[in-house]
């Protein structure tokens, strides 16, 4: 066991948190390790100093000061506070709400995309059809309507 781990055992030992087995192991270790014995003594002395420390004096006006300030905020804007409290009550549903909004957004996006691509397809088919119908004679059943584009009916070449 490393020095830090033995020191942790010493800490627990001082705080009476070691079981019998660990306490016995520590006791055996302290018989042989000078450094850890020194640590154990120093920790005892430090605990004594920490426990002996005087208590801070709490100012007598502090409670009233805190109460006044918090009440001021509580009364400042009941509607604002009510709104915030209402929203805060959903705090734990926020991730689920965010997820739902995301799914809804993606769904709407997909629908919009589908509609758009459908419109584009319809649009390009119509324009192609219009072009072909312009290129070829309506009553010429044998000729390809595309051939008519290249035939110079006036006699001149391209």
């Amino acid at each position: 066991m490393s020095c830090l781990k033995w020191q942790i055992q010493i800490l627990k030992w001082h705080e009476r948190e070691l079981d019998q087995k660990d306490e016995a192991a520590l006791s055996r270790h302290l018989e042989t390790c000078v450094d850890c014995r020194s640590t154990a003594d120093n920790f005892s002395e430090l605990d004594r100093l920490l426990l002996k420390s005087p208590e801070p004096v709490v100012p007598t006006f502090l409670n009233e000061r805190i109460v006044s300030r918090v009440i001021e905020e509580m009364r400042l804007s009941p509607w604002k506070n009510s709104f915030h409290r209402f929203m805060a009550s959903f705090a734990y549903f926020r991730p689920a709400l965010a997820g739902m909004i995301l799914v809804l957004g993606i769904g709407l996006g997909v629908l919009t995309g589908l509609n758009l691509s459908h419109s584009i397809n319809l649009g390009s088919t119509a324009s192609s059809y219009d072009l072909l119908s312009l290129a070829g004679p309506e009553d010429d059943a044998s000729a390809s309507s595309l051939d008519a584009i290249w035939t110079d009916t006036s006699g001149g070449g391209l």
Partner: protein
């Protein structure tokens, strides 16, 4: 009338109950103030931290889950407030040992009735310990104050510091080793 538990008081505070606020403040200001002043060493800053901490308690009262240990929740807020304030403000530090002595004598209960020599020894010892604790790194300082002055268990300290019990134990050992060097034990 039976005493209301902290959990009941917090839930009432979340609904705007001013009486619940008063009871909570009376019950917990002392421990909050003692943490703050040991953490910062500055009286005025500690008072500001207390005020801000209770404001945050009020604002977050609705988020408090009934099953959560109240002390852990309270001191998480207090600790975070102390960190925020210590980071944002340059607070006045005692410029001389004499000034520190006067501050400590005023801020801490030194037995005024004991003989002068005893008072001197108590004061000297107190100022050394106070200074030593305040000079520790933040996490070590927090762990020492919560454990040895706040009387909290290692598990409670771990909850407040969002850490594990074994990490807190390592922190305490390091803190003690640092304090031993600083206090020249």
């Amino acid at each position: 009338m039976p005493l209301r538990s902290d959990e009941e008081l917090i839930q009432a505070l979340g609904k705007g109950d001013e009486d619940a606020l008063r009871v909570l403040v009376d019950r917990h200001t002392a421990s909050v103030y003692k943490f703050s002043i040991r953490y910062t060493g500055d009286e005025s800053l500690a008072q500001d931290i207390c005020q801000e901490a209770f404001l945050r308690i009020y604002r977050n009262a609705r988020k408090y889950l009934p099953g959560m240990p109240f002390k852990t929740w309270l001191f998480t807020i207090v600790r975070n407030t102390s960190i925020d304030f210590a980071r944002s403000y340059t607070y006045r530090k005692a410029s001389s040992l004499e000034e520190l002595s006067q501050e400590i004598e005023k801020k801490f209960l030194i037995d005024q009735d004991s003989d002068p020599e005893q008072r001197y020894l108590s004061l000297e010892s107190a100022q050394k310990v106070v200074r030593a604790v305040q000079s520790l790194p933040e996490k070590q300082r927090t762990a020492v104050i919560l454990r040895y002055y706040g009387g909290m268990s290692v598990k409670e300290v771990a909850g407040i510091m969002k850490s594990t019990a074994s990490s807190v134990e390592s922190l305490l050992v390091r803190a003690k080793n640092n304090l031993i060097k600083l206090l020249q034990i």
